[in-house]
């Protein structure tokens, strides 16, 4: 069954269709929120709240955008609300798992992971969101503009600023050669 049919079934009250829709889009929302927060506990709370809001408001979803786009919009709003409440953050650092490599290499990978995540998290959430959606998930400018409710020009300039900032931070931390 395609996404539009699943949405129609879910709107009629089918639990199976709703379950399938959420399960299929779970990994993208999870990946996005994990990168946005860098905090496993906060990410779990946001994902649960996002799924709950999506279930309650499924009748409001208009299939002129992808279901994942709608879920990411909700997730971004939930994250923004939690930022306003000043949710305490616990960084992901401790939960990082390195692949089967030697201790020296594992240490280096972990350090690079940490630096990359640190740079990403030091960005304001609106810019971080643009970078994550564009760089990791290949979203179009129009889709990002729709998710963040802002003009396409703003998305472009935020992405440009983001990349400039990340390059300068990488240079400052001597992760790339200047």
């Amino acid at each position: 069954m395609d996404e539009i049919s699943l949405v129609e079934e879910a709107k009629k009250g089918s639990r199976n269709a709703l379950n399938q829709l959420l399960t299929e889009n779970y990994s993208i929302v999870k990946g996005y929120i994990v990168k946005m927060t860098g905090d496993p506990n906060l990410a779990q709370d946001i994902i649960q709240e996002t799924m709950l809001r999506a279930c309650v408001n499924i009748s409001k979803f208009k299939p002129n955008a992808k279901f994942s786009t709608w879920l990411i919009t909700i997730a971004t709003n939930v994250y923004r609300d939690m930022l306003r409440k000043k949710h305490p953050m616990e960084l992901i650092e401790e939960t990082l798992e390195t692949k089967e490599v030697g201790p020296e290499e594992a240490f280096q990978i972990k350090a690079e992971y940490k630096e990359a995540l640190d740079i990403l998290l030091s960005l304001p959430y609106k810019k971080r969101s643009v970078f994550i959606l564009k760089h990791y998930y290949g979203y179009k400018y129009e889709e990002i503009a729709q998710i963040l409710s802002c003009p396409i020009g703003t998305v472009r300039s935020r992405l440009h600023n983001c990349i400039e900032y990340i390059v300068s931070e990488m240079e400052r931390r001597e992760l790339i050669n200047g």
Partner: protein, 100 residues
């Protein structure tokens, strides 16, 4: 894209597959959402009931206050309470069928 930017983005790709296990039960979330939806629906129906009953009571009270309308009120009430079940019951049944 210059070399520096390319290298930076490559470094940023290291967190592309950042992942860890999470305890999210989608079926439980769907059940919780259904409870929330039912509560909202009940609340909406309760408010509608309160508004309509108080409007009717207020209207009847106003009519009684007007002189010469007592006889009209009496006939109206007899007619209304006789006919009301014939309108309300089929309407309720059809709305329940539509919901199912």
């Amino acid at each position: 894209m210059d070399n520096k930017t390319e290298l930076t983005l490559k470094k940023m790709d290291e967190i592309k597959d950042l992942d860890f296990s999470m305890d999210v039960d989608i079926s439980q979330i769907i059940l919780k959402a259904e409870i929330i939806k039912n509560k909202k629906k009940d609340m909406k129906e309760f408010i509608l009931f309160l508004t309509s009953t108080s409007t009717i009571v207020l209207l009847v009270y106003c009519l009684i206050m007007l002189e010469g309308t007592q006889r009209f009120i009496l006939y109206f009430e007899i007619l209304f309470f006789t006919l009301a079940p014939f309108m309300i019951i089929p309407a309720a049944l059809s709305s329940r069928v539509r919901e199912e």
